[in-house]
Amino acid sequence: MTDEAPKPEAHDDDHGRMVRLYLTVFIALAVFTLLSFVANFAAADERHWISKGFSFLIILGVAVVKACLVGYVFMHLMGDWRKLYFMIFPAFILGAMMMFVLMPDIVLAWQR
């Protein structure tokens, strides 16, 4: 981050734009949280308005979208992703690989 003083008009525009963006993302996060809660409510055994599989997809999809919004906007990855992806990406690959490595012995074994 540089220490150059921004021009006053651009500074105010930028300030207002960023605050609006943060508030928009906050509202989106709140709505998505409500959506996942409603999806779970709708798929409950006593109601079964939607299938459990569909509810699972909504809930997981919403979680991924929320995480991306927080990372992209709040954590400033929209400006810094190209400088940081080489560190972040391998960690997720390791996590996924760990699950795949353990899956045959723990998940699939009892299904045989």
Partner: protein, 316 residues
């Protein structure tokens, strides 16, 4: 020359990458263990209502953390634009929201302690039997009793025995002073607890003038009777429930949410320090905006972890 990134930001992201691996390991193991449990009746991964997990409380905590993420990013934004008072206010709000999150989490933990839903406490007799499989001759049965399968069944039985001892202690406490002469004067819940205790100890009741030996009920039946008692007399009696895979669930739950809560607490301590720094240095100036950005990165990461923990534990 060099990386187009301030050193502090690089270091913080390196730390967050290690945290990603830490929480991915915890969450990944939870996913694996959950999908590795059999799902045939009556054994299934505990549903939220069976372990006293309330979805709307988890959703409230999610909303609290989302609000705190907004306030911390607004704090950084305000400090960067020289708005010292606003920055201090936002950092204070973030701290308060973090404390609210921990308060709600404490209430949930108290609920688990109150129902004795703790790792190693919950009664469960997992799939398995003390009887040899069908179709074996006498010699094969004798061999089976000395091989590994028998030792595993003994272990299952030992787990059930530990649970029975725990429940026996709880029932003895509930039915203190109650005996055959005064049990009929007691409330319904005490009568049922007394009856269960008698059935567990293999009493010798008199039938037609003769003492008849009544064999103690096995752990599976103890668990079933305890669950019926708890369902019928919710809140009136404190007994450890019997929940298949309940101990595994409790271990995962407390490991994941416990480590997450520790991280939240760490963030709260840092925000308190920032407030002290701001109060003693004439507010949070523009020069503090980098510090706020880095602490904000950590806080947003804590928020992201909860964004995944909430659906995995409470919803799916």
């Amino acid at each position: 020359m060099g990386l187009p990134l301030p050193h502090g930001k690089l270091a913080m992201w390196l730390f967050l990458v290690t945290e990603i691996m830490f929480f991915t390991a915890l969450i990944g193991v939870y996913v694996i263990l959950r999908n590795g449990t059999p799902n045939h009746s009556p054994f299934h991964w505990p549903a939220p209502h069976e372990v006293h997990l309330v979805e709307w409380i988890g959703a409230l905590n999610t909303f609290v953390l989302i609000c705190s993420s907004l306030t911390v990013v607004l704090a950084h934004h305000a400090a960067h634009h020289g708005k010292s008072g606003q920055a201090m206010l936002c950092v204070g709000a973030t701290l308060v929201l973090g404390v609210v999150f921990l308060g709600v989490k404490s209430y949930e933990y108290w609920s688990k302690f109150d129902h004795d839903i703790l790792p190693g406490h919950i009664g469960e007799v997992l799939p398995g039997t003390m009887e040899p499989p069908d179709g074996l001759n006498e010699k094969q049965i004798a061999e089976w009793r000395f091989n590994d399968a028998f030792k595993r069944e003994q272990q299952y039985h030992a787990v059930g025995t530990q649970y029975m001892e725990r429940v026996r202690g709880q029932l003895e406490g509930i039915t203190k002073g109650v005996d055959a002469t005064n049990v009929n004067d007691k409330p319904e819940v005490i009568k049922e607890c007394y009856a269960l205790l008698q059935d567990m100890t293999g009493a010798t009741p008199e039938v037609n003038g003769k003492k008849v030996y009544k064999r103690p009920i096995p752990p599976e039946q103890v668990g079933k009777r305890v669950d019926e008692l708890l369902e019928k007399h919710e809140g009136q009696v404190h007994l450890t429930p019997s929940i298949p895979f309940g101990n595994l669930w409790a271990s995962c739950y407390f490991a994941m949410t416990g480590f997450h809560a520790l991280h939240v607490f760490g963030g709260i301590v840092v925000f308190a320090i920032i407030l002290i720094v701001g109060a003693t240095r004439g507010g949070l100036q523009r020069k503090h905006s980098t510090m706020l950005e880095l602490v904000g990165l950590y806080w947003h990461f804590v928020d992201i972890v909860w964004i995944f923990l909430f659906p995995l534990l409470y919803l799916i």
